[in-house]
Amino acid sequence: MAIEQQVQEIEASAAAAIASSSDEAALEAIRVAELGKKGRVSLLMRELGGMSPEQRQVVGPALNGLKDRLTAAITSRKAELELAALNVRLEAEREDLTLPPRYEPVGALHPVMQVFEELAAIFADMGFAVAEGPDIEDDFHNFTALNFPPGHPAREMHDTFFMKPAADGSRKLLRTHTSPIQVRAMLANKPPIRVIAPGRVYRKDWDATHTPMFHQIEGLVIDDKVHMGHLKACLTEAFSRFFEVPNTTSRFRPHFFPFTEPSAEMDIRCDRSGGEIKVGEGNDWLEILGCGMVHPNVLRSCNIDPEVYQGFAFGLGVDRLAMLKYGMNDLRPYFEADVEWIKHYGFKPWLLPTVTGGLS
């Protein structure tokens, strides 16, 4: 048989065998039978030595071509078989992915803490640092330095918790507001001062709208020129940012606090008609904070000369502010550690409130 004819025959039979091979072992047997040391193609290759150069020039490429084509066919078939085997395995690995994942509890942050952080973000952007002070205070920091004269009825507005008296008759108290932190900030620092002071405060009062412990945040700015116009613009801006509604309108009206002169309360426009309070619309006003120019007596108590320095202060109830923004209608659950309440009104921990990234 002419060698060309043999090449054709090997190619045809091998191709058929490769195509019909059903596993890698069969494929390997074909490779050995055709391309192995004693394989059909290899044996033909050996004959090249006995051929004339002219004949070799024709038969050599033909055999090499055959070898390459068979190798490629085997590789290709091998890949086919691997893929088929993989498909079979994957089919066997099929899972019911409607089954639930393993239980993972979902946490949340308390809304009061969230609002503290929101306010800190806004005021930090205006250059306010965060100051702190102790909950167990003395009369000087909570009252006297803040221009509450002993025996003055203004002290009675704060239903104060007192600690048991010490041996010397003095007794500490639980701070009734965050304002003593102002006093500490002024005693510890020279103007200019610009701080906010968040914290727990305590008053002896417990009903639907009062809890014996609640939260306040205090602000204080002291330098040689800050005035009530700054106070008004600063708070107007801060709370228009805070509520995150398209429009907030606020107004300031006179009020009385022993530690500020002049004193003011800030109201924001709201709508009460639907049974719930909506900020930024309607024709009602809602008081949100007290503020004013720091009273000269307070500055003096803190060793600051009121003829040289001046400043403003403000303070507000954070729990109530959170209610207003996020719609809680009762203060008491704030302190009841109720998981349903925290899940409902709480916040995911992943986004930190920022002025640029949004507060909530």
């Binding site: 639930p100 800190a120 639980l174 009530m228 116009g229 008004k232 006179p254 003011a264």
Partner: protein, 834 residues
Amino acid sequence: MKFTLPWLKDYLDTSAGLPAILEAMTQAGLEVEEAHDPREALKQFTVCRIISAAQHPNADKLQVCQVETVDGMKEIVCGGLNARPGLVTAYAPIGAYIPGSGITLAPKPVRGVVSNGMLCSGGEMKTDEDPFRLRIARFDDWKFRAEALGISEEQAIADGGIIELPDDLKVGSPVADALALDTVIDFEVTPNRPDWLGVVGIARDLGAKGLGKFKLEPVKPVKGTFPCPVKVRIEDESACPVFAGRLIRGVKNKPSPDWMQKRLKAIGINPKNMLVDVTNYISFDRCRPLHVYDAAKLKGDVRARLGTAQDSFVGLDGKTHSNLNEMCVIADDSGAIGLGGVMGGESTGCSIDTVDVFIESAYFDANRTARTGRATGIISDARFRNERGIDPHSCLDGIELATKLILEVCGGEASEVVVAGKVPEGPKPVAFKPRDMKRLTGLDMPAKRMEQILRALGFEPIVPPKAQHDEQMIWATKVPSWRPDVEGSADIVEELIRIEGYDKLPEEMLPAPEGPVRVVVTPMQNRVRVARRVLAGRGFLETVTWSFMHHETAALMIGGANQLQDALTIDNPIASDLDYMRPSMLANLAQGAQRNADHGADDVRLFEAGPVYPGDKPNDQRMHVAAVVKAAKGRDWQGPPPPYNAFSAKADLFAMLIALDQNPDKFQVGAPEGSFWHPGRAATLRLGPKQIVASFGELHPQFLKQLGVDGPVLAIELALDALPLPKAKATKTRPVLDKADQTPVRRDFAFVVEEKVPAGDIARLALKGDPKLVTAARVFDVYRGASIGEGKKSVAVEVTLQPRGAAMTDEQIEAVAQAIIKSVAKGTGAVLRG
């Protein structure tokens, strides 16, 4: 403080309507709480006339009336005894809301007869029962009904009936018009403004605000015709600097005039008789409290003195007040007969039979009055005014005004006025610096306007000639005697901006602080944020619990009741179980978890970041973050997950520490501190033997039992302020990464040790085998079994070696392995498991 519009208009000429008045009040600092317009409240009630009244077929007490109303003739069922043909009364249509009974009228049959509206009593409309005193006057016209029903006359009058209105009223006209009720305004009086406790003071401020013209006629003194027979002595001038008195003899006490009664009723004060009403009236008109004594009941001189522990008297409130130490007592020869400025006594009070009345108009020290009020718990209009500081100059005006009104109504003859003591000078003049106006408010107010406002409020500034106006100029300003609150230049500034209006304040943005933008959050504050976020991210819910707890609960956490401190005990707690400042929040959290479990929650993970109080000094307070887990028994189709145990708590704690840039391995694991932890399943992390940074593990079952909490409860407590601060560095640059050039080598070792040897020691000692090469040693298995031997365990450790520069030869690896084995064996007595 309540007042009516016509009362205000006694002192304010104004054409302003109610909204403008309310707005001006708010702007001037008089915070309006409510404006009650009776026309609005009574708008559904109109005048009607009963045409006929027939007995109800099914009820003795009811009548079926044909009534001429604003809506035409109506058949209305009525239970009023006085309902009779011809009576003009009040009609409410179907759909009307009846404030007195809180119901809305529906066309429902009443015992089988449909009533098409309602005939109303005063009580149902929340007005007077018999404002025209017609029901009693015309009792004869309706007593036949009472008789027919067998009701006594007394009972019938007490039961009353529907309102009786004058016959000449037009059917369909508003009942409110017939009653001529006035609009009542209620507002909050801030403690600095006693003068707002009188209508005159309100009018003065609203006049200054530009709402109208303030008018106040001087009080004309009544000349006494005989010396006052009652003598007055002041025995303590600090408590009572001045006491004016006057006797009016031969009065005929009687009900006060209608106009006075109407005003008193409108503001919620029950009229009694003229002598008493006049003191109440002047108290609200002028903020001038007075007291009237029945002179016949006084024994000897009246004196104002300091009370003693033995003093006691029965007050007008009917209660006995004793132990009057340090209080300003009014006394006569019989002893204490009242507390000055707070409350008079029953024994010398006026009655309808009083003939000779002695009027007191005094000034009492405000602070002492406040202390007396608090000590006795007496709440009175007099105390409310005197403790805020009334106008000391009003003594004589008050007594003259009272004399005039009493003489007009009750007749009699007035004595001369006796005055004991001296009228206090009142507030000191203030050195007002006009520059403070711009300095403090930012508003540039012309000097003329400043002067105008001050004068309108009763201040008397001495304004220097224009040529002298400069930065340092001072206006010596006399402060009106009714303004004890004004004591400095800033107070004057408040008056000016208050009257000008806070809406006139400029709005100026706060300038950026000088210098570069600083970090405004302290490392401690950031720790709180990070710790909270780690726990919330790991499935915990944040709570806020009380800073106080029951002292017995606190005692459980600090080693017994003998460790409790008075300094941390609240003297006047809101509840007896909230009387001690918490040493830890774990008890609160465990109880919180139990409350949730009681409500059916099956997996509760709570935490709190907040203060704890080991002492009462300012620096004693600590910032902790604590968490509890009352986990559900996990069920899962893939097989039960491991329970939340002490190691889970340790994992959560370590996650916090790592997030806080604290390497957990630098802390020693020690025994738990405090008997509220499980002795074997809880531990502390310490820096040195003393300083505890954190505790974690299971809470003690006995502790939980005492709290009423079902175990097991796992807990974590981390003292955020006990963690070391990072070393301060000049820049934020980090050292260059020293990345290993060789692959690490891992070898496992199994050490057999005594049961008591802590696995942590083995890992630590393995690291020490070659501190340079060994970069990690991690326990991955603990095995106990017969093959190991009784009381022993096999601890398997995976050790990581990190060669650098060149790969390790087998000999080198073997050498390190031997060093590791030696280190562990030396420290623990371990034997390599064969």
